[in-house]
Point group: C2
Chain length 210, copies 2
């Protein structure tokens, strides 16, 4: 193994660092410090320095970090210095919203096509993307070497869809269905479940009213 293993929790913070660096650049800043980044993100400067140290040395003592340089380094580390082709499965309300979510494209994640099993939808468009039949999904994934997919189907269908995607060679899944997917090693799933997030917060709501 060439790459020293880095805790997954550290990797998960890098996109947040990248995000704040982009804002600093937009503000015209040249230099920042672990202190400033920490203040902006509500975490300690020590944690930021420690996290970055897993990947190399990006700053200058006494000065701080060049924001453009650090941003570019993080993009390279995260492999987002390129375009990623994705597909989405599910052309319902949620799929519709995601098809119109332009931040995907502007961040380098391009939804090439949407797949659905509703004959009325197949052949039409959603946002900029064509809707195809799920039966043609494996061919499309193969032809376009798709590695990333978004699941936006009803909960009951999510497991089967995930299985098919993985079978076809997809190795990263962004899953909007509120169900835990069991996947083989080498495949990653990230979950988006706003209801779970709300329920996490309501736990703390009672204390205030007691």
């Amino acid at each position: 193994m060439r790459k020293k293993i880095v805790p997954d929790i550290v990797v998960g913070r890098l996109p947040i660092y990248l995000r704040v660096l982009n804002y600093l650049i937009a503000e015209g800043r040249q230099i920042t410090s672990s202190q400033e980044l920490g203040d902006r993100l509500g975490i300690s400067s020590a944690q930021i320095r420690k996290d970055l140290s897993h990947f190399g040395e990006f700053g200058k003592q006494g000065t701080g970090y060049n924001v453009v340089f650090l941003r570019d380094q993080l993009k390279e580390i995260l492999n987002v210095d390129r375009i990623w082709k994705m597909i989405m499965v599910g052309a319902g309300d949620l799929g519709h919203a995601l098809a119109n979510y332009h931040r995907f494209a502007s961040s380098g994640f391009e939804i090439m096509a949407i797949f659905d099993n509703d004959p009325d939808k197949v052949g039409t468009k959603m946002g900029e993307q064509p809707i195809y039949d799920v039966a043609d999904m494996d061919q499309f994934i193969e032809d376009n070497e798709i590695k990333m997919a978004v699941i936006a189907v009803p909960t009951v269908a999510a497991r089967d869809v995930a299985a098919k995607l993985i079978e076809c060679g997809v190795t990263s899944i962004l899953n909007y269905a509120p169900v835990t997917l069991t996947v083989p090693i080498g495949v990653r799933v990230q979950y988006i479940d706003p209801v779970a997030r709300l329920q996490h917060m309501t736990y703390y709501q009672n204390e205030e009213t007691e």
Copy 2:
């Protein structure tokens, strides 16, 4: 302080436990075990038992957990055995999608109104919800005792919106804008950032192709 403090990371897992219990109930199951729950969720049975132990004793030795009983207990712990009134700020594409995301309502989170600053939108409806002027937001929050809000505005507006929400008495914010919010203690924010999730996964993508 009446309540023994529970690690936040444990609280964050409870909604996932609740979710799988609901599926087990839908499947007609009466009893489950920490082993089965762990298998379904990809975590250890020890962790599930340990997590639950922070809140009480819910199982029977040799038997396991009554799924309905445990579900009801978790709902009570999370304060989701009631309806939560929410507002949403931002009537753009994202707000539109969220207004039509019926899982909020079916989980007990009711979006009462949507606020926007676009005069063309104010007075119209989105999904079932009326769109009001943001200028009327404080009054509405006060009148309806709103404690929870969803931010679905452009990034540049998110900080100001959050500040106003908090000023009006909102204590839980689900933030879809890709920016970290600084909030006073007693206020909670949860972030939904699908792009950050994708970037987390692309980190691991290169290993396979090397």
